[in-house]
């Protein structure tokens, strides 16, 4: 993988982001419904309304509004949230780390769990472990992440109360962390009790988010492992007398991984999108939860900022996956 390739990919990101921003901007404005009407107190006069409309620039034509907004965005200014009356960038930055920690944890879980299931299903293929793995992936095709979240709340929050069902941290804990990356920071500082409560709060939403992707990884990886295991170089390794686990993990896994990595780009996007509902269900203070609030309040500047943030997250994830795919796959590595 070469530097010019990376540069080319980064340049291609710009039109996509502009496209996303135009679609969102126009979509939110051509439709009926007036955000100003939602924020005025009863008894406001026409003058008050006009004043507010001018203040938020909503009295100008759409194209002009877009150009003004876009030139501010280029300077890193996404405007002021209408419902929360705070700077949009500050709001998003204060919530983004929570979502990143949750999403990374979920991705980690799904990769580890999905790979293990695929290995187990291949090692004991045509025996009961494979049946269990197949049953698990089949069930996960039907049950979406938000239902898993609710099932976990029922099971481990209510019927057998093991884990906290809402928030990111116990409100009684006095936090003096400087960043919003609580898990990372508590680990670095060695505050393990804080770290433990953070994990306890995160484990249910993270697993709920991870399960659909786990199933996709397990299914796809098992299919390509089955194919890889019939190839000549694997036979060769068997003849050489390598142990079955060694052949599976050291010899087969690396090649079998390639199609799964290629597939996981879109799937990671689904996982990121899934944070919206999962955060809502677990009252987890990230940008997903914030998005639903912003949509319900018709908070245009905040919605725009959030969608652009999600788009950037998708693009970055896809870029990383694309690059790891290129590193893994010798056929495209040297292009």
């Amino acid at each position: 993988m070469s530097f010019p390739f990376l540069l080319r990919r980064l340049v291609l990101v710009i039109p996509t982001l502009i496209g996303v921003s135009i679609i969102v901007f126009v979509l939110l404005r051509v439709v009926p419904g007036d955000p100003i009407m939602m924020m005025i107190p009863p008894g406001a006069t026409e003058d008050d309304i006009d004043h507010l409309r001018q203040l938020y620039g909503l009295d100008k034509p759409i194209l002009e509004q877009y150009l003004v907004w876009f030139s501010e965005v280029l300077k890193g200014d996404f405007g002021t949230s209408i419902s929360l009356r705070q700077d949009v960038v500050e709001l998003i930055l204060s919530r983004l780390p929570a979502t990143i920690e949750l999403a990374v944890a979920a991705m980690f879980i799904s990769v580890i769990l999905g790979t293990s299931l695929a290995l187990i299903g291949t090692f004991w293929s045509n025996q009961w472990p494979e049946t269990i793995v197949d049953g698990f992936t089949g069930l996960n095709q039907a049950i979406p992440d938000f239902l898993w979240g609710l099932i976990f709340i029922l099971a481990f929050g209510v019927l057998w109360p093991l884990l906290p069902v809402s928030g990111r941290i116990d409100p009684r804990i006095n936090l003096d962390l400087v960043s919003q990356f609580y898990i990372v920071e508590s680990l670095i500082r060695g505050e393990f009790s804080v770290f433990l409560t953070l994990i306890k709060h995160m484990i249910m939403p993270a697993i709920a988010l991870a399960l659909p992707l786990t199933a996709v990884i397990a299914r796809s990886l098992k299919a390509s492992l089955r194919e890889t295991m019939t190839q000549d170089y694997i036979r060769m390794a068997q003849v050489k007398g390598f142990g079955p686990w060694r052949i599976l993990i050291v010899e087969a896994l690396r090649n079998a991984m390639i199609p799964t990595v290629a597939l996981s780009g879109v799937q990671f996007n689904f996982l990121l999108g899934g944070t919206v509902l999962i955060e809502r269900i677990f009252s987890y203070p990230g940008i997903g939860n914030m998005s639903i609030g912003a949509v319900i309040d018709r908070d245009l500047p905040l919605i725009q900022g959030l969608i652009i943030t999600f788009a950037i997250l998708f693009i970055v994830t896809n870029l990383v996956i694309d690059m790891s795919y290129r590193t893994l796959n010798p056929r495209v590595r040297n292009e």
Binding site: V20, P32, V158, F314
Partner: protein, 286 residues
Amino acid sequence: MSEPTRSGRVHLSSLVRTWLGGIVIGLLILIAIFAPWIAPHDPLKQDLFSGLMAPFWLDNHDPAYLLGTDSLGRDVLSRLIYGTQIALVVAFIAASLAALLGTVLGLLAGYYGGWLDTVVSRLVEIWMAFPPVLLSIVLVAVIGTGLHSVVIAIVIIDWTRFCRVVRAETLVQREQEYISSAVSIGFERWTILWREILPNVLPLLVTLLTLEMGIAVIVEAILSFVGLSVSSDQATWGGLIQEGRQYVHSAWWVMSLPMICIIIAVLAFNALGDGLRTILDPVMRK
């Protein structure tokens, strides 16, 4: 030695799955149609003196309310039965419209190629960049709540699923010999598309359509859960989940019953879709 028995088993179980899925969906359709006669109570009738009653298998239940009541004293069983109506209406209408839009665009793009194909493919790519859940929530917030906007949102988001597959399949079919023979005996392009290619894409389409119905049930539940589907006093599975979530610590069953309904419906649509795929596919049938 193991291969023939294995594929035989797959075929048998897919037949069983298809039937099971079909029967469950048939039952759900009957429940939806006959809801006014089956439901023991009016799903909207409140009885504040008998709120949060337990279902029949727990203590302090009232035999009049088989599955208990919600916080406003409305009968949970009746709300579930009426919820079936909305879930199925959304599933059938939204999935069919998404299939129609996606199939038409996919057929045209795949068959005619050229700039049309470029435009459609690019559009699909941009569409895939949006997170579906967030997009549906934004869309419904934009169009306004209500049954029709839920349907519109699902169509706008999910037409790409059909378009991608149908386009790819049309590309394959276009190169087959029977198409060149049809062209050489002077069939019109439209006739070829309609009479020759569409029937060959149909098995795949039926499978996708069935799976999409399951997805639509979930999307409707999600939107009701967030409070953006039909008006909140109407009975929906997602709405009941959202209600139950608020007092899950005092009455856990209110949330779990509609979840079971959704899981059953989605599993049934998936079983039917997967089964049909195996049965309709001539290669897998062998």
